[in-house]
């Protein structure tokens, strides 16, 4: 918590390279990527991300060498206006280095994985040139995320916050001209827009919180704000924290703004793993942890945060039970787990929240990437089958199934020619992959056990720490989270049975092929981390490593021991859930075209889960449709008819026309200036018409004129 200039700053001078290394990587790929092979592009991007990881490690070492003291490295002057003084300063302390390590570490593994994944993805989608763009975006994301976690003030954090939002948008809409099944459609770009708009709503909250903060504290700088917490009234801090919660709900996919995250699965799987599971979505948890002094001082706000997190955890977990898409299950699982983290940091259990953030990054990245491996395996199998069909056309009739019982979002399923559209992400097309993809199966198992919270995997320790904190602080939250943990184990069990056990329900699954090493090796690393990640913060005396590490930043936290009651209940429930899932999905494996076995006993409940409790439809009805109607009304009636037709056309243009026509044109111009000019002309004409009669051409009449003139002049002279 203290800024120290005196201690040895170690590798602090490297801090800017957290951001610059990925930026160099992306610039390199933009400039030279065209001349490189796919491998070269991937290696360049991975090296850039790896460099950021090495910098993170060195910075973490420096922080630990400085006994956890926060260090700051001022890179550049940023905004100096009036009383607002902001610099681009890197804040290196135990909290930010934890995030840096997770982001760059998991990020680098996913970069490596993506080399293999995108190699096949761009080929299945027939656009090899897009390979490079993916890695440019991925590096940009790492840079933006590093800006976010290394920020020293809320505004710089907001820059990173927006940057990762942009990358999320770009990567969700990576295959922007198709849907998830590669059919021409705007579904993917709609998903990207949905994510962006939902995040805008959250950002609005963040911005309002920032404005109030500057108004009340006169600064955005973390230390300056936290130092004044006790001088500012309670109400103001509650307002700041709650508006900030809106931002958190947007970025970390909490109720009511979580709806974008399931749709974000439209992005390539490495993106789902990196951005929409492991790192970006945890930014909200990081923000609350970072703002610990603010939240800790207002218990009402803390309770609201905890309740939002707990309700989200349970709500999303129930939806995950009814999903058929392998990635959608994981997406709702991510929302649910983020709910755990938010609930934890909401209860002031910052270490537990961060601990779960780290372990979740490991096992959820593992699960997503394994799911990606499964999807690729099925794509390969499908490819193989199609190839075979070219030779045995007749054989294809046998497999012309999988028409009914489609997922709600896949209702618009149409056949291209005689060939059915194959969805490699639909778990109803899988089954029996245990035999065809053994490595992926075991990796997936590890991820599942970690997520379900089975001893001794990483998820067990972190989830239990949250549950233990909840049992001590807030019984409601505790029970909500415990039930959510039960559902977590159940839907993961369901997924395992549906994907890997039983008989293959589609010939693509029967012919699925295992993924190459470039995909499985990063997964193995993540799997190891998912197994041993719990060692970061074991609930035993002397093993609270993460707690002691973060203590320097988030303040003293109670180091909890292992409560056998809490751990027993959660583990027991998890095992029970897995047993249930085996009874329902494992004992009698799903057959092709068979409806979900839960559908009948649960009835409308399952319909609700299957259709995401109709939240999207409700939002459509109560927000989007009225909003569209309002926009329509504003555009048609207010803008066009009132402003344009009436106000502009009638009032302004009419008045103007009237003034110019009647006033200026008719009176001033026509009857004034014109009349004068024309009158002069007419008068000259008539005068000359008169005068020309004098010019009659008769010399003698001229002579007479002369005579008369002379007579007149002389007469005048004589008579005067």
């Amino acid at each position: 918590m203290h800024l120290s200039e005196s201690v040895n700053t170690g590798f602090l001078f490297l801090a800017p390279w957290l951001v610059f290394a990925p930026v160099v990587g992306l610039l390199f790929n933009i400039i030279f990527g065209g001349r490189l092979s796919e491998k070269g592009i991937g290696i360049a991007a991975s090296l850039a991300s790896g460099a950021a990881f090495i910098v993170s490690v060195l910075l973490a070492y420096s922080v630990s060498a400085a006994h956890g003291e926060a260090m700051r490295w001022r890179l550049a002057e940023w905004i100096h206006v009036g009383t607002l003084n902001l610099d681009w300063t890197f804040r290196v302390d135990s909290l930010s280095t934890t995030m840096m390590l997770v982001v760059s570490g998991v990020g680098t593994l996913i970069h490596i994985y993506a080399i293999g994944y995108m190699h096949e993805d761009v080929r299945f989608k027939n656009d090899v040139g897009r390979f490079r763009r993916f890695f440019v975006f991925l590096n940009l994301f790492i840079a933006a995320m590093m800006i976010l976690v290394s920020a020293d003030n809320y505004l710089m954090l907001f820059v990173g916050w927006e940057g990762v939002g942009l990358c999320s948008f770009l990567l969700i809409g990576f295959w922007y001209e198709m849907d998830t099944l590669a059919r021409p459609s705007w579904a993917n770009s709609d998903a990207a827009k949905k994510a962006f708009v939902a995040n805008r709503v959250g950002d609005f909250g963040f911005l309002i919180a920032g404005f109030i903060m500057f108004f009340a504290f006169g600064s955005f700088q973390f230390d300056a704000v936290f130092a004044k917490v006790h001088e500012v009234s309670h109400g103001v801090i509650i307002a700041i924290t709650l508006f900030m919660l809106v931002g958190v709900a947007g970025k970390s996919a909490q109720i009511p703004l979580y709806v974008w995250l399931p749709d974000a699965m439209a992005g390539p799987t490495p993106v789902s793993a990196l951005i929409h599971a492991a790192t970006m979505v945890t930014a909200g948890v990081y923000l609350i942890t970072r703002s610990a002094p603010l939240y800790s001082s207002v218990h009402d706000a803390q309770n609201i945060v905890a309740m939002v997190g707990a309700i989200t955890a349970l709500f999303a977990a129930t939806i995950a039970v009814g999903q058929y898409d392998i990635k959608k299950v994981l997406a709702y699982s991510t929302i649910s787990q983020l709910g755990f983290m938010v609930a934890a940091v909401g209860m002031g259990a910052y270490v537990a929240g961060m601990f779960h953030l780290v372990t979740h990054a490991f096992f959820k990245a593992l699960l997503f990437l394994s799911a990606g491996s499964v999807i690729l395996g099925l794509e390969r199998g499908h490819h193989h089958v199609e190839h075979a069909h070219a030779h045995h056309e007749a054989k294809s009739k046998k497999f012309g199934k999988k028409k009914e019982e489609r997922h709600a979002s896949h209702d618009s399923h149409t056949s291209i020619g005689h060939e059915e559209v194959f969805d490699p992400g639909d778990m109803r097309n899988m089954g029996g992959l245990r035999k065809t993809m053994p490595v992926t199966f075991w990796l997936y198992m590890i991820g599942t056990l970690a997520l379900a919270g089975i001893f001794p995997f990483a998820g067990f320790w972190s989830k239990d720490e949250i549950l233990l904190d909840a049992s001590l602080h807030n019984q409601t939250v505790y029970w909500l989270l415990t039930i959510a943990a039960f559902f977590t184990a159940f839907y993961m069990g369901r997924q395992i049975w549906m994907v890997f056990f039983g008989e293959s329900r589609h010939e693509a699954a029967a012919h699925a092929e295992e993924s190459p090493k470039i995909i499985t090796v990063p997964l193995i690393v993540l799997a190891v981390l998912s197994v041993i990640g719990g060692a970061l913060n074991l609930p035993f005396e002397g093993f609270h490593n993460l707690g002691h590490w973060l203590e320097h930043t988030v303040g003293e936290v109670e180091a909890l021991g292992l409560d056998l009651g809490v751990a027993g209940i959660s583990t027991g429930l998890a095992l029970l859930a897995i047993l249930f899932s085996w009874l329902i999905y494992g004992r009698n494996p799903l057959k092709a075209n068979q409806p979900d076995p839960l559908k009948r006993p649960l009835g409308f409940l399952f319909t609700g889960m299957e259709n995401k409790w109709f939240v999207d439809e409700i939002y459509q009805a109560i927000i989007i449709t009225p909003f569209a109607k309002l926009s329509q009304f504003l555009a048609d009636v207010i803008d066009w008819r009132f402003l344009h037709d009436w106000f502009h056309e009638t009032v302004i243009a009419g008045t103007y026309n009237w003034v110019s026509n009647i006033g200026l044109n008719e009176y001033a111009d026509q009857k004034g200036i014109d009349a004068l000019a024309n009158g002069l002309g007419v008068w000259t004409q008539s005068l000359s018409a008169t005068m020309r009669k004098v010019q009659n051409g008769f010399v003698r009449s001229y002579a007479l004129s002369v005579l008369l003139g002379v007579v007149l002049i002389v007469g005048y002279l004589i008579l005067k």
Partner: protein, 100 residues
């Protein structure tokens, strides 16, 4: 000695005849002659006054008038000849090309 009034009356009569001639006659030659008549009416008046006032300046003035009149006649007759050549007439009423 003949009183000056007579000269002036004669001069006026001559001048009037000249004016009338210019105004009523259409023959350019006659008009010229009428102009000469007016000039000489004026000359007569000037010479008469010169004699009465015992001053030569009037007579010198008349000399100039006569000289200029001679030149004028030369130019005028030349014009008339040229006009006659083109129009076959010296009727001034037909010379109305400048009619407005």
């Amino acid at each position: 000695m003949i009183p000056i009034n007579y000269y002036i009356i004669l001069s006026a009569i001559l001048f009037t005849i000249g004016v009338t001639g210019v105004l009523v006659r259409r023959n350019a030659l006659i008009i010229f002659m009428s102009i000469e008549l007016m000039l000489n009416a004026a000359n007569l008046a000037i010479v008469a006054f010169s004699s009465v006032l015992q001053s030569f300046s009037g007579q010198i003035f008349v000399f100039f008038v006569i000289a200029v009149a001679a030149a004028e006649v030369a130019v005028g007759l030349a014009l008339i000849v040229e006009i006659f050549k083109s129009k076959r007439s010296i009727d001034v009423d037909q010379m109305s090309g400048l009619k407005g």
